[in-house]
Symmetry: C2
Subunit: 172 residues, 2 copies
């Protein structure tokens, strides 16, 4: 299962591709799409959309996971972030892929084991979990983290759906 | 000049097509794209994007005008609205069209002559200015209003660019 994680942002949109082979996670690529604040908003959104479509075409993921947004921002920041986030969700679904959303709490819990972990801890843990040669850029590390979170959730739901001893579990 | 006006929203995205022939404004179509809150966000955004693309294909506008968003909302509302607004801007620019943005103040001033006009006044004035048989739905009326605002701005800038008596005006 190949997963694209996206951390959308108005200035930089982080992306990370990982492959899940059983319990192993393999890093494929990570980076960030930067846009210029001098460009018109529509142009910036088009750049993000096109780059994500090109990356999806190149790496052929089977699922997309997008980070939900920290809500305690002011309305102006939330609106800007919403634009980029809408584009990320659209790029995934327009490629025919399932799109999952995870809160920052879920992502940090999955990667660091602590929901209130800092940016640095997320960067260090993604490096460790994926055997990266160096620490990824901040937005790219967040994108890898949401991809890892999806891999864990997916793995867990698969295990629940197919219990090894043939016992049917009741899911609440 | 054929103009598509869009009033993006998380529940309903209004659209309005008008044609500007000199000083005359001709109404072509208006309506609203509704999405279901039970659907996943990515699905709802895809519906808005596809509908807008289909309408652009049908009416072949030469410009898109999108309303800017009233800022005094809470961050959660602003974020939701940002998703839909990003999709509207992307639909315009991905069709190769120039995309203009106008504040609610500019739109209301252009249509009603008063920047703090209410929704009802905008609905009534779009009916009058475009000779509509009946008052348009609220979101559709807002979309027609932003299209009218663009037509006025465009007309004005054309007049400024080509003064009738051959006098070169200095533009500040």
């Amino acid at each position: 299962m190949r997963i694209l994680g996206i951390d959308p942002g108005s200035k930089a949109t982080g992306y990370g591709f990982i492959e899940q082979c059983g319990n192993r996670l393999i890093h494929l690529d990570n980076g960030a799409i930067f846009t210029h604040s001098k460009d018109a908003l529509a142009v910036r959104l088009q750049i993000i959309y096109r780059e994500l479509c090109t990356l999806i075409e190149k790496y052929q993921p089977e699922a997309v996971a997008v980070e939900q947004v920290f809500m305690a921002r002011n309305p102006a920041s939330a609106l800007k972030l919403g634009h980029a986030r809408g584009i990320a969700l659209l790029a995934g679904i327009n490629a025919g892929l399932p799109v999952a959303e995870y809160s920052a709490l879920q992502v940090k819990s999955a990667v660091v084991g602590y929901g209130r972990a800092g940016k640095n801890q997320v960067q260090h843990m993604t490096k460790t979990l994926l055997n990266l040669p160096e620490i990824a850029q901040e937005d790219a590390a967040d994108a890898l983290a949401v991809a890892i979170c999806h891999a864990h959730s997916h793995h867990l739901s698969n295990k629940l759906a197919a219990p090894s001893q043939g016992v049917r579990r009741r899911q609440s």
